[in-house]
Amino acid sequence: MINIYEVLETNNMIEKENLDVRTITLGISLLDCIDSDLAKVNENIYNKIKTVAKDLVATGKEIEKEFGIPIVNKRISITPIALIGGAACKKPEDFVTIAKTLDKVAKEVGVNFIGGYSALVSKGMTKADELLIRSIPQALAETDVVCSSVNLGSTKTGINMDAVRLMGDIIKETAEWTKDNDSAGCSKLVVFCNAPDDNPFMAGAFHGVTEADAIINVGVSGPGVVKTALEKVRGENFEVLCETIKKTAFKVTRVGQLVAQEASKRLGVPFGIVDLSLAPTPAIGDSVADILCEIGLEYAGAPGTTAALALLNDQVKKGGVMASSYVGGLSGAFIPVSEDQGMIDAVNAGALTLEKLEAMTCVCSVGLDMIAIPGDTKATTIAGIIADELAIGMINQKTTAVRVIPVIGKTVGENVEFGGLLGHAPIMPVNNFSCDAFVNRGGRIPAPIHSFKN
């Protein structure tokens, strides 16, 4: 039988160490909403989401109350809209109407975000893919809760450099469209290599075409819990350190698994996966960077950071895998800058640079995330940053992503405030030596040799 110390430990994690379930994400297939008439597509999408997701928020709150565990976000992911709107949309503005429908229905069912305003173009772009991509700046400027992602490469297909080059422009345009709001549109836009079909985290969530009609995916969190557990093993060797992380990750993930199963049962929607990612928030004590410091670094970014992060990421997975029947999504440690107070401190102290962050993304999910860069950064430079990051993903057979925010009108030394879970960030310097001739070549980078496993 459960004893009082175990109960107190759990409640301490929740109350003092920010243990929470970061998100319950309901994946909804919109494949049956396809129509050649734009008005009809919009109507179908509205009706489908409204029907399937009507109880999501209420059920989430019910679970929160019964188990006493906060569920921070309730979200929806949908089939990439480039596939759904392709038959009906003849110009980018047509796609924007779908974005507005998504925004409207998401707000009506009460979710925090809806993800899947997406295109999968890892090898090539269809006309519809390109129209959707070109509609992104306007769509993100004119909606509030719609998130967009574009998969630009994979280990199997290589990197679509035409699309990478285009996304450099699109990110700049998105920044311009939302420049009165510190270019916040870019915080809802992410590009991927090896994007997973079942990611519950925003901005990159979409409901892959290989998924069932509807599915529940859950993302857990708990950097504060890991940090507190590590405080008790200061000075111990790596074996003790790793065991402690593993055990803590197990406990955190079990809560996610429980919530996922309950949500699935109550909503009558199959359980998909638990995403094991350690997701930070700007709240004090909810930071992945603080864990790195607890492992023994003065600041995130100091020599040893990549090794510490590699160790952390691997132990989180090892502990988490046993705690859940199905794991998936991104599953690793997130290292967003603006969403993690420890990362922000590290940047302000001069300990953490874009280049070090790039190295860190080699050993953890997901990538260069929530990084504010000067507004005058060239589109080709952004494309170059994307190409570098995607190459890491392609060669290492892992997911990588880029979510950078060129803040129009601001430059290095200034700060930008996004608010809420998105936090705030100092603008980081970018290497401005030209890569124009490289990214303007056109075509695609072939798949690496080790992708030919057949």
Partner: protein
């Protein structure tokens, strides 16, 4: 049978257990086990309770216990047992 864990945390004072138990009795909630300890000078009590014949909804009980806690000056939480079971038992 679904069990519920009720925890009471706060500064020790006369009648905490009495008040909580009275409320539970009125709501027809059966107490299966009680344990208590003092951690960092704080009174910690845990009850394992059976809600099967409870006359109120779980959500109402949570809210009312919350209010009762505020009245006594302690924090009362009411959580389904599974969250602890899952976390601490393989």
């Amino acid at each position: 049978m679904k069990k519920t864990i009720i925890t009471v945390v706060g500064k020790d004072t006369v009648g905490i257990i009495a008040k909580v138990c009275t409320y539970l009795a009125e709501s027809n909630i059966n107490i299966l086990d009680i344990s208590q300890t003092i951690v960092n000078n704080y009174f910690n009590m845990m009850m394992i309770a059976d809600f099967n014949n409870c006359t109120k909804s779980f959500s109402d009980v949570t809210d009312e216990l919350d209010a009762l806690g505020a009245e006594i000056g302690v924090v009362i939480k009411c959580q389904r047992e599974e969250i602890f079971d899952k976390m601490h038992r393989i």
